[in-house]
Amino acid sequence: MPKRWEVYPGKSQVLCSGRCISAKNLSVFYLTLALIVISSCLFLAFDCRLLAVTLSPSVPVLAAVQFIFVLCCLLRTTFSDPGIIPRGTPDEAAWIESQLEGPQVDRDGNYRPPVRLKDVQINGRVFKLKYCFTCKLWRPPRASHCSTCDNCVDRFDHHCPWVGNCVGRRNYRYFYLFLISLSVYCLYVMVFGIVNLVLLAFFSIWSVVGLGGFHTMLICRETSTNEDIKGSFNQRRHPDLINPFDQGNGLANCCYVLFGPVTPSLLNFREDEIGLGSSISLVTNNGRNGTVSAAAASTAVTATPAVRYSNLTRNNNDATSNSVGHVNNSVQVISESLPAQLPGDGNDVIVKNGNGAPADGVISGGTDAVGAQNSNTQSASSVHCIV
């Protein structure tokens, strides 16, 4: 003897040996479930750690309680019978259909389908009851036939794909409570997520933003922190003293401070430490012959006094390469900012001049004749020496 769920004729999906029923297509329901579960897990795992400590341990507890309630309501909505009216037996169907007017052909020869409506007085108001040919029953008032599930559902609300079931008389309260509890839970998570963010970022935001704002103000006024502290150009202390370095308006000051000329370092650390007035030979070539220049460079280098800073490595075998990256990173960065008056191929240039500023290392971008470019090469060499 088969159980009733085994011979159920509709399109709904029967689960757990007749204990649960839902729509056949549950893919959107799985999406709903995944969204709720994943975001709750993330909130409980990450945000609640800080909130439990800084605020109260009741924050994650309440979140967990709400999460469980939302899940209970959702699962009840999805897997419970929405109020399906069981289909009429064949005997009932025969009895009802015998009372219906059959299909007729009227005077004009038009075909009239069988009448399946009957009028009913409900509390004084005329109501038309429909006969459902699929379910073989007179549909009660407020019932409707769901084509997705192929059932008549009492007090039919709608078929909800998010929940994966019809919403009808039996599961409407679970559906509504699911909506309300999920709204409350979403608000709860949002509020405490923001609180968490504020707690984490509060101090860093205020200190960094504050300091940034302060320095923006200084830049616009073309003063330094030191001057501000001392009040050198403070209008209130010395009202007749104006800032002589102020360019007139804040924008011009900003432009000059931020985008003005970059001063090179004058320390020349990479050059040999020599006293004033010592004479030095100058070796340079245009680098057309790579090997020659390499050889020349290497011999020149070995002839010079020992480099004081040996942390910068040199690669003399690759003299024709334009990039100085193989020397070290800092040198490559500086070499890119060499002024335009140093065109040409990459060369090894060892420059020494009478001013007692020995040059060392490799310059990329080449160089002109030494004599005319003393200052340039000096500055170039000094540029590439210092980070």
């Binding site: 289909r87 009932e92 009895w95 299909p103 409900i122 009851l129 009660p140």
Partner: protein, 140 residues
């Protein structure tokens, strides 16, 4: 039990209702509440006095209407279930289910006392999805 086969609705042939069954339909004149018509079906004319039939159906209607009435105990039961996340429904029986069980007991009693001696058998409306009350004529 012989019953006529259901014919397609677009067929021009006459559909024969089952000869040995009488059906009591739902009465919607008072709204959607659970109520069956107290009108004696034609097939039962002469088999059972009308007042007996009316009384029987009336008693059944009373129990069914009570099942759907919202009383204080029903509201408390629902609130309690809500607070437990509806997990309480797994172990407890609702008011409606209790009422339907009492209707089943009443129908059995009527079958013993009223319908049985008259060679009739009433089918519990829960077995028919609360659509109709089916009364089987055991002997024509």
């Amino acid at each position: 039990m012989s019953s006529s086969k259901p014919l397609p609705n677009s067929s021009s042939a006459t559909i024969l209702p089952p000869a040995n069954k009488a059906f009591v339909p739902r009465d919607y004149s008072h709204g959607t509440e659970l109520r069956f018509s107290t009108e004696l079906p034609a097939k039962l004319q002469g088999r059972i006095p009308e007042e007996v039939f009316t009384a029987v159906i009336g008693n059944i209607n009373q129990l069914l209407i009570a099942a759907e009435t919202g009383s204080a105990s029903v509201y408390l039961e629902s609130c309690f279930a809500c607070l437990t996340g509806y997990l309480a429904y797994i172990c407890m029986e609702t008011q409606y289910e209790k009422c339907l069980r009492s209707v089943s007991r009443l129908v059995e009693e009527y079958n013993r006392t009223v319908f049985g001696p008259r060679n009739l058998s009433m089918i519990d409306p829960s077995e028919r999805g609360l659509r109709v009350i089916e009364i089987v004529l055991l002997r024509p």
